[in-house]
Homo-oligomer: 218 residues x 2
């Protein structure tokens, strides 16, 4: 970190500065989710927020810094929607899965993950790629907490390292969402989650009890 | 199909015409895998193959037709690398998983799926999206054949619809590969496959018997 950078960060941010930063991150996150990272220019974010280049460089340094903040923002959104992964987790894996499915089920569910959609777009930049990997590790650690708590409470039967079990669960969520998005139906996600929960020793209704798999538009 | 199109397709393709078509598809597939579909122009494919616009439009109609051919090409590559999914499947799910892991393990494995990388890029075009979904259905049907055959031969213990079991297996492959690509290590794919195989009632060595998870460059 250079002298200029150190002095920049030593200035305590004002409430207004924090709010401007937040607006820029939200606008960038929305644009990057819709168009992709490469197709979102710094100028698009400035136009959308009515801010200037100097503010953007003050808060983020450069476009890469902005993308790092977007990854953090999407991780916070994803974890905010899954309170059962937090420190107060009740270990109810089946309820966690039902909550996740509820978000994606029905005619207007997103059938995509705000964090997952960024993954293929950060592949060429080692800094962004490592930050994205760390975000998924953080999510997996929350899932490991859910699994551990479930085991303490007797709702999870599987033995083995909770981090490994959580890794398999996270892969099921991401792969299931990718296939669900293509199929325009939540069924592939349900199937992936059912299998992952059986593997954890958590029992839920089988997919055959659910409505048939019909494509929908999103 | 219009009259022009019908008469175009009624001309039997020559061996040379087929070879030109194949070269164009291979070049387009390579460029689209490296740069993405949007960043690959028709002119890039023409330059790479030394062909002209009229040949491209003769063989594919338009860029969308070329992308449809690229999806078919990548599906054929993916299935060609998994002979155990074909009609002569021996039902050995553990060997299928080991073959898949062998492709991605070590310092120079791709840690990505030629078909999977296209998924997020066809989201806006309903024709491409449906074709991509059908390609994954085809893959899943091959996995269902592997699972059915394994059940006949006693190597798969799980009951239930083979297509549903295969859907969970495919989600594990795709989610595991996405996380492995980010981590620059095959471990997340191994973890996802181990869980999927346990769910199928197929037993393999546990991930703890494998070397520790260290990042590598690809």
């Amino acid at each position: 970190m250079g002298v200029d950078e150190a002095s920049r960060w030593s200035r305590p941010p004002t409430a207004r500065g924090r709010r401007t930063r937040e607006q820029m991150v939200e606008a960038a996150a929305g644009l990057m989710q819709a168009r992709g990272i490469a197709a979102t220019g710094v100028s698009d974010v400035l136009t959308a927020t009515g801010t200037g280049k100097s503010q953007l460089y003050h808060h983020f340094g450069d476009k890469r810094g902005l993308v790092l903040a977007v990854i953090d923002h999407q991780l916070a959104r994803v974890l905010g929607a899954q309170p059962r992964l937090g420190p107060a987790s009740d270990g109810d894996v089946a309820a966690w899965a039902d909550d996740l499915l509820a978000v994606h089920r029905g005619g207007d569910g997103p059938l995509s993950c705000p964090l997952g959609v960024l993954s293929s777009q950060v592949d060429d930049d080692p800094v962004l790629r490592a930050h994205q990997a760390a975000a998924f590790d953080h999510w997996r650690d929350g899932l490991a907490r859910l699994v551990s708590r479930g085991r303490e409470r007797g709702t999870v039967g599987a033995v083995g390292d909770p981090t490994v079990l959580a890794g398999a669960l996270l892969a099921a969520v991401q792969g299931g969402l990718m296939l669900a998005r293509l199929a325009r139906h939540v069924a592939p996600l349900e199937i992936a989650l059912d299998a992952a929960l059986l593997h954890l020793g958590v029992h839920r209704p089988s997919p055959s009890d659910r409505p048939p798999h019909e494509e929908r538009e999103v």
